[in-house]
């Protein structure tokens, strides 16, 4: 270990330190009022550190650390910033939820530990650090899901624990097979050894790919590995649901991209079979997610299924990336990779607005049944309008950011000659409109129940309106986001 190693993972180290400080703080000070400012200042500091690193890094080079097992590059730094932003957001919308809780500092530090795991995950280049980062991501979430400690929440926590244990086991088994064949844990080493020897068509390798993808499928809640999502989303506290829907999914996609590219840089023919497996996942996710979402009456379960279907759309981008690379080389895949990042950005932005509004509404009406949302437009036009725009963005209609991200991903898929996949995606867009707009209808058409009132403070209002404006602005001028997504993937390609 030398200074460069520490330099490379300084954001992660700072996050861990912040998390520990919070627990210590709780131990020594009875005053809880300073806790939130401390969290915010700490996160801001780490965010600035990331920005500082980003400014100082050479945009075409990456810094390897710990004998190539971790890496510092623009891709990782972007996701560091992204996860810090998401944590910031989660803590922001938790304020009503956490007010009555006694374990405030544990709540905050668990979120921060999990985010640290994600930050490590997106910068790992090797199986073991990848696995450890993954566990660091998942285990705090288990505790957070069960944080309410009532029967529903505990059930969700246990369910998540068991199923994520199984998926980790699958991943680990896949890794063991790889290690057994190659004797190395570094992604590019493994790719190198496999492409040089005669085992590249071995059935066991295919088996290990399937195991790895199953593990991934679980993390990004792609069908048929989605079974946990509805129950866990439903049982978890609302802020944690949003953490699962945004950060957890994005982390999975990010490391998938990193692995794909580190293999592709060695040999572009190695993971051709992945695209076929992923196509199955993508189609299943889109159709299952959308069709089951139609029947949902609980907003959290509906969000769960809708996020499953969005996984399917993101996978379309990943598949087109794989196809383009295996047909015409790594350098042509920039557009496809950036379309995935752009979709992630649009999806996250929309989900930020979705979860803020839904959290405010469910807190006020003490129910997460969609039918109880009736007539919100009369009580709070701002929330109703935001939710409407969010739904339009989730469907992918103009003038919202969701429209451009969908069009962009379809454009990438057409370039990869996946015309029929685009058609399936379009069919799903039409299906999804049905249940998204049903919510809009309930918001606007039905009469509110008598004693309904919605209170939310100035900060929340400001946040809701700013997300609303952003969804709208990026729906008309998407260029900054597209530019950003090109910058992010540039180093991978």
């Amino acid at each position: 270990m030398n200074l460069q190693d520490l330099y490379a993972i300084s954001p992660q180290i700072c996050m861990i330190v912040l998390g520990m400080l919070l627990i210590l703080f709780d131990l020594f000070f009875a005053q809880k009022i300073l806790l939130r400012p401390l969290v915010f200042i700490g996160l801001l500091g780490i965010f600035l550190l990331n920005v500082f690193l980003w400014v100082n890094i050479d945009s075409n080079k990456s810094i390897d650390a710990f004998s190539n097992s971790l890496v510092l590059d623009e891709f990782g730094l972007f996701f560091n910033c992204f996860f810090i932003g998401v944590v910031f957001f989660i803590i922001f919308i938790s304020q009503d939820y956490i007010k009555s809780s006694k374990a405030k500092s544990e709540y905050y530090s668990l979120i921060i530990f999990s985010a640290t795991g994600m930050m490590l995950l997106t910068s790992s280049m090797e199986l073991i650090s990848f696995y450890i980062a993954l566990e660091l991501t998942t285990l705090p979430i288990v505790a957070l899901v069960a944080f309410n400690r009532d029967i529903k929440s505990s059930e969700a926590g246990v369910k998540f624990l068991i199923l994520s244990g199984i998926s980790s086991a699958l991943l680990l088994y896949g890794m063991v097979i790889l290690f057994g064949f190659t004797g190395s844990t570094l992604f590019d080493d493994i790719a190198n050894i496999i492409s040089q020897s005669s085992i590249s068509n071995d059935k066991a390798l295919l088996f290990s790919s399937i195991l790895l993808i199953s593990g991934f499928g679980f993390k990004i809640s792609a069908a048929p590995f989605h079974m946990w999502a509805p129950d866990v989303y439903d049982g978890a506290p609302m802020p944690i649901t949003s953490y699962l829907a945004i950060a957890s999914k994005v982390a999975g996609i990010a490391i998938l991209l990193r692995i794909i590219y580190s293999i592709f840089h060695v040999n572009i023919n190695l993971i051709g079979s992945w695209s076929e497996i992923l196509i199955v996942l993508s189609i299943l996710s889109m159709f299952l997610g959308n069709l089951i979402a139609i029947r949902q009456t609980n907003i959290k379960r509906l969000i769960a299924y809708s996020s499953i279907s969005h996984t399917g759309f993101i996978l379309i981008g990943v598949i087109s990336l794989l196809v383009i690379v295996s047909e015409s080389g790594v350098s042509n895949s920039l557009d496809a990779a950036s379309s995935v990042i752009f979709y992630i950005l649009g999806y996250s932005l929309t989900n930020l607005a979705l979860f803020t509004t839904v959290t405010i509404i469910t807190n006020n009406i003490n129910s997460s049944l969609i039918d109880d949302f009736s007539g919100i437009s009369k009580i709070s036009p701002v929330l109703a309008f935001t939710l409407t725009l969010v739904m339009i963005s989730l469907i992918g209609l103009p003038p919202t950011v969701g429209f451009f991200s969908k069009a962009y991903i379809f454009n990438a898929a057409i370039k990869a000659d996946l015309i029929w996949l685009v058609l399936l995606g379009l069919i799903n867009t039409a299906i999804s409109a049905y249940y998204y707009l049903r919510i809009v209808k309930i918001l606007y058409l039905e009469e509110p129940s008598d004693n309904l009132s919605i209170n939310f403070n100035y900060n929340q209002k400001l946040f809701v309106i700013s997300t609303l404006v952003l969804i709208f602005i990026f729906g008309i001028f998407p260029r900054p986001l597209i530019d950003l997504s090109y910058i992010v993937v540039n180093i991978l390609v």
């Binding site: 557009d335 339009i392 209609l397 103009p398 003038p399 429209f403 069009a407 962009y408 379809f410 454009n411 990438a412 057409i414 370039k415 000659d417 015309i419 685009v422 058609l423 379009l426 069919i427 867009t429 039409a430 409109a433 049905y434 707009l437 209808k441 606007y444 058409l445 001028f477 998407p478 260029r479 597209i482 090109y486």
Partner: protein, 495 residues
């Protein structure tokens, strides 16, 4: 980058007006006044568009061009902000301005959610104007989808009857048509690397397309057929028209379904002329089915609004017939397409007027069920005169605009498909039957006691009616003004 500004203003002033209504205005009476002001302003602007198009001396294909190339500048996805008009779109923009003004002026009895109502109408105007003036396919598509949300809400919130069902049906049909268009334009982009309508015709060649041109043609053709609507994809239209509020029906019949006709000529004929000629046989069969089937179904309707809605199906069949003439000689092509575009314009004014009048009658008698009506001429002389004029225009009486457009279509289509045109002409007979029968059942006959206290339309209510009647008679008596403009546009599209 070229910037004239007039067309951008015409497209976006309604949005601006909607924003002002949303944010600044508090009192309902102000909302009414301001919405009318914006509608009137835009009517003047859209007339100005047509006028500046006429006097413009530039020899470019498209005039009044507003262009900004670097909206989304990536090579992999290059979208421009590119608006402009030619002879084909300029009259349709005027039509949109006219009918939105009519819709807004006629909605004075809206009682709930007044702000949102006018916001929806104004956004709808932006979307339709945008569709008619976009010269970039992606921009075209954005406006095309933008139309969906306001119309959906207009039906669902201010509609009547089975409004939820109709709104959902409208939504799903439109989304499918939108999905097909998106698919089509992305495929075109993948083959030609541009969304620019002015460049595409020269770039599209059979060998450069990813999938065969005929399939591309059918993708767009089906998408536009849903919106036009063409049998058997027309089933959303009667429901949506019937359950929409009056202004919604006026917009829907007057301009929204014209977007499909516009797309058919601008995109299908403009980009895939060979395929249109090749498959004109299918188009003409569909056209005849539309005309005859639509007319026969219309005969059986007992709900006034539904009756007019089905008559739109029949009238849109004539547009399709004009398009089918594309497989003929050059002169037949031009005549058929000029007829088709004129039919779009006249159908907009005539059916807009019919829906408006029927909305008035419904408001005053509280029924749309034709067998319950009769003898209304005694109580509402003004409305019955107007309805008679609109009716005879719809059935194509010489002197009205309906006659001109239908005769031009027949002249264009007859040399190409004599027998089919002959059958379609028979549709005019059916039209006369159902229109005259409807007027007779509603307006004439013995005076009924239950309508004793029913009032006639007020002078204010007659303003939009008279405006539309003037436009119908003007086109009917002096058609060469507007056919000349359409002809310029059509000749350029055919090339």
């Amino acid at each position: 980058m070229a910037f004239n500004g007039l067309i951008s203003a015409t497209v976006f002033i309604p949005t601006l007006g909607a924003l002002v209504i949303a944010v600044l205005l508090k009192k309902n009476s102000h909302v009414f006044l301001f919405a009318r002001f914006v509608a009137l302003l835009n009517l003047i602007l859209s007339a100005l568009v047509l006028f500046s198009y006429q006097i413009s001396e530039s020899t470019d294909k498209f005039k009044l061009v507003d262009k900004y190339e670097h909206w989304i500048p990536f090579d992999s996805f290059k979208v421009q902000y590119y608006l402009g008009v030619d002879g084909f779109s300029a009259p349709l923009i005027l039509l949109t301005g006219l009918l939105t003004a009519v819709a807004i002026f006629s909605s004075k009895n809206i009682t709930h959610k007044i702000k949102q109502y006018f916001i929806c109408l104004l956004l709808l105007e932006t979307a339709v104007m945008g569709v008619f003036s976009s010269l970039d396919l992606f921009l075209f598509f954005i406006f095309w989808e933008l139309e969906l949300i306001p119309m959906f809400f207009l039906i669902m919130v201010w509609g009547s009857g089975r409004k939820n069902y109709s709104a959902m049906k409208f939504l799903i049909f439109t989304l499918i048509s939108g999905a097909l268009i998106l698919f089509g334009i992305l495929m075109l982009f993948a083959s030609t690397k541009t969304f620019d309508i002015t460049l595409l015709p020269s770039l599209i060649k059979e060998e450069s397309l990813l999938i065969p041109m005929s399939i591309m043609f059918f993708v767009f053709f089906i998408a536009f057929s849903i919106k036009l609507p063409v049998w058997p994809l027309h089933t959303w239209l009667p429901d949506a028209h019937t359950d929409a509020p009056t202004a919604g029906s006026v917009m829907l019949a007057g301009v929204l379904i014209k977007m499909a006709g516009y797309g058919l000529i601008r995109i299908c004929i403009g980009l895939f002329p060979e395929s249109v000629s090749e498959y004109s046989f299918i188009i003409v069969i569909l056209a005849v089915i539309n005309v005859i089937y639509g007319a026969v179904i219309t005969m059986r309707q007992t709900d006034m609004k539904r009756l007019i809605a089905f008559s739109s199906v029949s009238h849109m069949g004539f547009v399709l017939l004009g398009v089918a003439a594309f497989s003929g000689s050059y002169d037949d092509k031009v005549t058929g397409l000029v007829g088709a575009s004129l039919q779009m314009f006249t159908h907009g004014t005539i059916t807009g007027l019919l829906f408006l009048l029927i909305g008035y009658i419904y408001e005053k008698t509280h029924t749309r069920y034709i067998p319950h009506m009769g003898g209304l001429v005694h109580q509402m002389p003004r409305l019955s005169v107007a309805l008679t004029i609109a009716g005879v225009a719809a059935l194509g009486l010489p002197g009205t605009s309906g006659f001109i457009s239908e005769i031009i279509i027949f002249i264009g289509a007859f040399p190409v498909f004599s027998w089919f045109t002959a059958i379609a002409v028979f549709g005019v007979v059916l039209t006369s039957a159902y229109i005259l029968w409807m007027i007779q059942r509603i307006m004439y006959g013995p005076k009924l006691d239950r309508f004793e206290k029913t009032l006639d339309a007020s002078v204010y209510e007659m303003i939009p009616v008279i405006l539309l009647i003037i436009s119908i008679l003007f086109v009917g008596l002096y058609p060469s003004f507007i056919t000349g403009i359409f002809k310029n546009g059509i000749i350029q599209i055919i090339g």
